[in-house]
Amino acid sequence: MNELVHPYHRFIRPTVTHTTFCPGCGDGTVAQSILRAIDGLGMDMDDFVFVSGIGCAAWIPSPLFNADVLHTTHGRPIAFAFGIKMGLPDKKVMVVSGDGDLVAIGGNHLIQNARRNIEMVVLCVNNGIYGMTGGQAAPTTPMGVKTTTTPYGAFENFFEDISGLVIAAGASFVARWTTAHPRQLTASIKKAIQKKGFAFIEVISQCPVQFGRKMGMGNAIQMLEDYKKRSISIKEAKKLSPEELKDRMVVGEFVDLDKPEMVEEVTRMIRRASGEAQEAVDTGRG
């Protein structure tokens, strides 16, 4: 009898025995959503270079994915990815990291590369907390939530809409889902991979240990239940007033547009400059 084999285990680095995530962590669901998208597009892991920063979500590709993976310093994966993409324009470059990494310490690289509209996929797993270091407040931690660094409740205004920030900066493709929407997430990742431009996907994801258990937000299932209850599609959301949208999570594909992409512009510039240089050599002006 043929034994059933998991279709994505072939994408896992052979030396990895199991995921590094806590039980019930959304990171694993996101990992599988990425692999399903790659499989669905009929692509191979060798078509990709994965880049991640520091934090739990950074361990989605490193070491799990059996591909070229660069696990970088805190906040900087997009900047490293910039160099990789320029060096290997034919490869798909995908950054997978958390909200603390991409939006707090690395916020400017996110903004500037969305502005450049350089072709890459940036997947931001937003769990609203610093998980790896033990549950400290992030710029995405809602006001009032007690964390290890805000024992009396978070007192800062927080990023309710990272996707809005990236849209304003100029990205070609922006979507948001939660880990309660893995099928929709996979569909958006497929589009993001194929997008000629900066493609940003925010995934709201449960941290059942630091955000859930310690902060009294419940276990993985209660958090998924909450995402289901609070999420609302962009289409439906348009019908509601800001007041009605309070505490709701708007999900869907917000932006999908075509505009000049940086790698193509650079290639064009090089062709122009090297042509001019060759002409100078030919005419003896070199």
Binding site: L4, V5, H18, T19, F21, P23, G24, A31, Q32
Partner: protein, 78 residues
Amino acid sequence: MATLRIYDELCKGAEECGICLYVCKEEVFQPSETLNQKGYRPPVVVNEDQCTQCENCMIFCPDLAIVVSEKKRKKGSK
């Protein structure tokens, strides 16, 4: 061929995680009586006949520990 396979050793527990039990509408799983080597209690299949091969358990599982055989493409299934 079986409809479902659970990789017991990859599982982080029907109690600690339990997402498979939560997303399965047909109550196909229940927690195992035994623990895996890491000390987690994986799910066991108790109602395989009930399985609609919707793949929810597989798609949601954060540890890639469940695989569902591909559904014979019935009309209307998605």
